[in-house]
Symmetry: C2
Subunit: 340 residues, 2 copies
């Protein structure tokens, strides 16, 4: 049992203000810091030392307005909104409630923003320790919410001197299977471990992990490799926001056809609109087409056929079937294609 890890709190750092030398403060508070240690520093004190503060009124609607302005300036895009909660992607790429802006552990006339470049902050801190003769890895951590799970955990915003991921690809288990769970976000796990000895009230903003065999570091990568790019993120938008986008897509449905429609998809689409089309609207399937005809000869029948047509087109689009619409005096023809 001698080969485990220790997670050690660093106490006595005290209040941090703009311009403070964090490496100096931490070395003084933890003279026992040793080569090979992983230092996990709460982003809050990094932001304070770097002067990443915004002055705001202490209360009233002016405070809310100032807070909204700060959020807007930190926001690259809004991911999801519900009630008072706004989850955004920051300019760094982090997906966080309120863009990581925090009003705790700071006087009431300031808000604390995230460090502008947490990997650069981690590198600078690591260099500061190196200058004092200590070879330590540095992680800049913050608290984040998650999809699907209640409660928050600490994760890494920045890192230096340690690879963010431990890659198990190619490893073979004792049964001869290649491992399928391949890349562990170890800097996030180290941040979580450090939080277990930290105090949320800023009294212990730093912890040291001792005894961890760091994966090979590429200092240029840092923790930013943990940011999933939006295109490959299956959850890049909130459910409600994505659903509203689907409605907007429906409103602006383009006339485009590519590939060949899948009959099962067409059948699912027609089942979907069963019961919402005008009684008497005719639908006849041809070769790669659907022909829609009105319930009667009146103007209202033609108008209704028009709304039915767009319902059918949208239902097909939901199944990935694109359509081209041709209108004549007796009805409409939809040519069916591939991916909408």
């Amino acid at each position: 049992m001698s080969d485990g890890l220790q997670i050690l709190p660093v106490r006595g750092i005290g209040d941090v203000t703009a311009g403070d030398d964090l490496a100096e403060l931490i070395t003084n508070a933890a003279p026992w810091l040793a080569d090979g240690d992983v230092l996990v520093v709460t982003s809050k004190i990094v932001s304070k030392a770097e002067g990443r503060l915004v002055e705001v009124p202490a209360d009233g609607p002016e405070r809310d307005e100032a807070r909204d302005r700060a959020l807007a300036s930190e926001t690259a895009r809004v991911v999801a909104r519900r009630g008072p909660t706004t989850i955004v992607q920051t300019h760094h790429g982090f997906v966080m409630a309120a863009g990581g802006i925090d009003a705790s552990n700071v006087d009431k006339t300031h808000l604390v923003l995230l460090p502008a470049d947490p990997d650069a902050s981690a590198r600078a801190l690591r260099a500061g320790f190196a200058a004092r003769g200590r070879d330590v890895a540095v992680i800049v951590s913050d608290t984040m919410g998650r999809a699907w799970r209640n409660g928050l955990t600490d994760v890494a915003l920045g890192a230096a001197g340690i690879a963010a991921l431990r890659d198990h690809r190619g490893e073979i288990d004792p049964y001869g299977n290649e491992l399928s769970l391949t890349q562990m976000a170890v800097v996030d796990e180290l941040s979580a471990a450090a939080d277990l000895v930290k105090g949320k009230r800023d009294r212990v903003p730093v912890a040291v992990v001792r005894g961890y065999a760091r994966p090979e570091a590429d200092d240029r990568a840092g923790a930013s490799v943990l940011i999933r790019d939006t295109a490959s993120d299956m959850f890049s938008l909130g459910t409600a926001e994505a659903r509203a986008e689907g409605l907007r897509d429906a409103a602006r449905l383009p006339d485009a056809v590519a590939g060949v429609a899948d009959q099962a998809a067409v059948d699912r689409a027609l089942t979907l609109v069963t019961g919402v089309l005008t009684p008497g609207t005719g639908i006849t399937a041809g070769a790669g087409t659907l022909r829609l005809t009105p319930a009667g000869a009146g103007s209202a029948d033609l108008l209704r056929l028009g709304t039915d047509t767009h319902r059918v087109r949208v239902a097909l689009a939901a199944e990935g079937v694109a359509t081209v619409l041709t209108v004549d005096d007796d009805g409409v023809t939809l040519s069916l294609g591939g991916t909408a």
Copy 2:
């Protein structure tokens, strides 16, 4: 520096098979286990001891089919699909790729399912240690992916003898601010910490966290309190899936009005459809209504007005504006209401 935590690997547990007494195996491997320790046990060996295995062919299409059947039986609902990846919510409520089914660290003719009730497994294990005179908390952990962040981390599926959340609500920081980050998922953080000393190749499936001041436990709650209920989850569906639902909503748009329409929302909707409506289609705003008229007197003009009408209705729905459609021989009237 004496008040930190230790994370200790438990080695020498060896192969676990159905019917094994895990408390016995772990006590033998870690005779140094002490009161107050938090034991983090990889769900894989819990599943094996509980016989949660499915027999499958070692290879070929039959193996894939058997795997699909196992996934279907573990799945409560599909959350997102892309390429070979299927993320589902299991019957327990966990959102996991492949429903947590794993083929590693088991012979090629079996798949390992998650424990049927990980909180119950944790309680049973804790009772097993209590019977051997050790008062320890037990966490059953597994590896999960996350939205927005690359890499995996270990989290808690089950827990006993420890509260899953540490609640900071009501605490005041040194500046007099009430803390806003309130509930930390400490059993997830303990699971992540334990993973740092575990081996992915099953050689170290158990770790002990020593020195952690456990939050008050309510044994009935367990780790299941960390499962966010779908209704309050802003990311209950994948973005592509939610967008497709939006399209389906558009196809089945109901005739219903509640509340009063917001003029700004109506304006946004009309801006959205600019350029996709038939040239000449007239839109006139009245009191709580929109009147749409055809570009000309022909049948095709009426049909086109019908499709335009549904585009406008869907654009309004995307902005939360519900509509009731009234058709007459000269055009259509949309009565505008509140939340669609």
